[in-house]
């Protein structure tokens, strides 16, 4: 009797729990596709909803269900890996550029290029991108795996009030890193506030890539050799160290801390992604100005882009086809207009920025974003280390940077890092 009661309770508990979870209704309509994105209600969800609605009008037989994923690209990828392991991936998803190589080589997907035979308008679609940008979705063999969607570049944000207080001309922001160093020191000396902050991350080396590649260095060269301890790289890191250790114009703090310092008006310049623009405009009380990211005197700038590319992960042909159609819409002039207006990302479609029917008025109205747009001709793919241990290798560089900014000698630190990288990437 007593045991029966126990069992009864156990059964009741399990039944009541299962009963609460009624199964989902089967999809209605011809094709329903799921689209995973990272656009929260305060950053781009409106653009996603508007795009989905507009697409619905254009292609009534494709229903797009959009699913917001928490925790940015890392969070999305984590859930995507889990969903794939369980055998139910979404039809398509945004993949951050830093995970592009991983997605291309490790995640089961349908390359966009597969549609080149099927779709007579395929070449028009690819040629609709700003020249060179579609290549961001290609691998070394030239296969078009994905197409770029969100595009951001580093921008030099600066506090015009602090510039004036330091006796600098806000209309003449620094153009080279050497000028930036001088301006930063002047701000530090004359106002007592910090001069400059460079965006850093605890999981990638996005801005350092721009700094190093613009100086002619490469973390990994074309032959696949590690270039971390070569003179161009050493020079760039040494420059960074001098800002922090010699001039003390650059605070050695976390990125969240320098962002708060900048918003508080206690940091003169801040090199950070263009995606932060709207947030800065909203939270800065001082006169916020922007300029193109500085370069090294006499050298060609190479700016690593951030943002995301669109991948097709759907399992059956109808889903893949539908996802392809939606991707074409999202990267079209109309799709890009909806997207850029709400997110402040840079457009990937050619000609849309100067087109009075689309984004011309927006760019005229927002001079701050012009700085970002002006960077596009110098854009290069964001290149994390490739291979199964690529992401782990990023950590080696992060720790080298932390050591260098903490005052460790630059060259020996980078030589040690090279050895560690060799061991990891061999």
């Amino acid at each position: 009797m007593k045991k029966a009661l126990l069992i009864l309770i156990g059964a009741f508990v399990s039944v009541s729990m299962f009963a609460a979870g009624a199964k989902e209704a089967p999809p209605t309509g011809p094709v329903t596709i799921e689209y995973w994105h990272i656009n929260s209600a305060t950053f781009g969800e409106k653009a996603v909803v508007n795009s989905v609605n507009r697409f619905q009008e254009l292609k009534p037989n494709i229903k797009v269900v959009h699913r917001f994923q928490q925790g940015s690209y890392g969070g999305l990828l984590q859930n995507l890996q889990t969903a794939m392991a369980a055998g139910n991936p979404p039809a398509m998803a945004q993949i951050g550029y830093n995970n592009l190589l991983f997605a291309m080589h490790e995640l089961p997907h349908t390359p966009i290029g597969n549609f080149s035979k099927e779709d007579p308008q395929y070449s028009a679609f690819i040629n609709g991108f700003i020249p060179g940008l579609a290549d961001l979705g290609k691998d070394a063999k030239g296969v078009q795996h994905a197409v770029p969607y969100a595009l951001s570049v580093p921008v030099l944000y600066y506090n015009a009030d602090l510039f004036k207080a330091a006796g600098l001309d806000p209309d003449k922001p620094p153009v080279t890193w050497e000028e930036l160093r001088k301006a930063a020191k002047q701000i530090r000396d004359r106002t007592g506030e910090y001069g400059v902050g460079l965006q850093i991350s605890t999981s990638n080396n996005w801005l350092p890539q721009t700094l190093i590649e613009s100086n002619g260095g490469r973390f990994l060269d074309e032959k696949g050799e590690i270039g971390v301890s070569r003179p161009e790289v050493v020079e760039a890191y040494a420059f960074w160290q001098q800002l922090a250790v010699v001039d003390k114009s650059l605070p050695v703090v976390t990125d969240a801390e320098q962002e708060q310092a900048f918003l508080a008006g206690r940091l003169g310049m801040y090199v950070k992604t263009s995606a932060s623009m709207a947030n800065f405009i909203r939270q800065a009380k001082f006169t916020l100005r922007t300029a193109v990211v500085p370069g090294w005197a006499g050298k060609q700038k190479r700016i690593a882009v951030g943002g995301n590319a669109l991948f097709i992960f759907g399992k059956d042909a109808a889903q893949q086809r539908a996802a392809y159609e939606f991707i074409k819409f999202l990267t079209s002039k109309e799709g890009q207009t909806i997207w850029v207006l709400d997110t402040g990302y840079l457009p990937v479609a050619a000609g849309v920025a100067d087109d009075p029917n689309y984004l011309k008025e927006y760019f005229d109205r927002n001079p701050l974003t012009k700085a970002a747009l002006a960077q596009l001709p110098h854009s290069v793919p964001w290149m994390p280390f490739p291979g199964p241990r690529g992401q782990q290798a990023e950590q080696v560089l992060i720790e080298a940077r932390e050591a260098i900014l903490g005052g460790a000698p630059v060259q020996p630190t980078l030589i040690t890092a090279t050895e560690r990288l060799k061991a990891l990437l061999r």
């Binding site: 490790e106 801390e257 708060q260 310092a261 940091l267 050591a403």
Partner: protein, 305 residues
């Protein structure tokens, strides 16, 4: 000192063995299906190279174990976890015990007020708490820095300093969890029978004496629970502030075992390696629990002599 595992002869045989087992069955079923079944998979994966999505899991024998046991970051994470544990024991076991005593020294009205104010932080999630403390510890214009500047001092760097980076992490967890442990300890103190306290008071045990000789020994089972909970917090709770505030840096001084497990699997896509890490760490924890049992058995038998 208390026993972690009951001595068989001390258990009162209230009923049949089967009835007792049936009582534990719902919980054991849950553990078997959703903790130990996955753990078996983890052990299996620890001998493989796998990125969670590829179809093939490559068997690599003890390679993952060798890689971890020869890597500095493993020992660093282990050491850091120990440091977190020690500080948390001070801040969320000793301090709450002291404060529980203090609560008996203030008026009834104040007591109720302090209980609510000290509990308030626990309802804030660790993620949000971490964001709040980023501002508090920010060396440029943060709360602590501003107070120091107000008195003409030079603000300290916390999160990016090799020596002090653990401070904000410990503060977040201690701030949030002190109230938790306090609730458990106060429940334990409340459960001390009134007659025992009165009898002790008649014998002249008042104030601190009452605490030293009557209350602390009687609530030692609760202290043991809180102790084990705190050790597990130094692994699991500490993860969130690490993730939000420092990302394990600078140069790994703030990382801990759970953050390494997370990072290897979900940031580096090395699930096999992450599984190995989990297996080793769990082995260490179980060994420590076992050691604790042996230790408490010796102390108990000494006391029982």
């Amino acid at each position: 000192m208390n026993r972690l595992i009951p001595k068989k002869e001390n258990l009162k045989k209230t009923g049949h063995a089967l009835t007792g087992f049936l009582f534990t069955l719902p919980a054991l079923t849950g553990f078997t299906l959703f903790v130990y079944r996955p753990l078996m998979e983890t052990i299996y994966l620890s001998f493989h190279d796998w990125n969670m999505v590829s179809r093939t899991k490559k068997f690599i024998g003890w390679d993952n174990y060798k890689e971890i046991l020869t890597s500095d970051s493993f020992y660093q994470a282990l050491w850091n976890t120990g440091v977190y544990a020690i500080w948390l024991i001070v801040f969320i076991i000793f301090l709450p015990l002291l404060l529980s005593y203090g609560l008996t020294r203030v008026g009834k009205w104040e007591r109720n007020l302090y209980r609510i104010t000290l509990f308030a932080p626990t309802v804030v999630s660790l993620g949000i708490a971490s964001v709040l403390f980023v501002w508090i510890f920010n060396p440029i214009g943060g709360f602590i820095a501003s107070v120091i500047e107000m008195f003409g001092g030079i603000p300290l760097n916390w999160t990016s300093s090799l020596e002090r980076a653990k401070t904000p992490i410990i503060t977040v967890v201690a701030w949030k969890s002190l109230g938790y442990n306090m609730v458990l300890l106060l429940a334990g103190i409340g459960a001390v029978p009134e007659e025992v306290k009165q009898a002790a008071e008649i014998d002249g045990a008042v104030g601190l004496k009452l605490w030293r000789y009557i209350i602390l020994p009687l609530i030692s089972p609760t202290i043991l629970t809180v102790f084990v909970l705190t050790i597990s917090m130094s692994a699991e709770y500490v993860f969130t502030p690490i993730h939000v505030i420092t990302g394990g840096g600078p140069q790994g001084v703030t990382t801990n075992v759970v953050f390494e497990i997370y990072r290897q699997a979900f940031q580096w896509f090395r699930v096999g390696l992450s599984s190995t890490f989990s297996v080793i760490v769990l082995g260490i924890f179980i060994a420590l629990l076992g050691f604790k049992i042996k230790l408490s058995e010796r102390i108990v038998s000494y006391e029982e002599r």
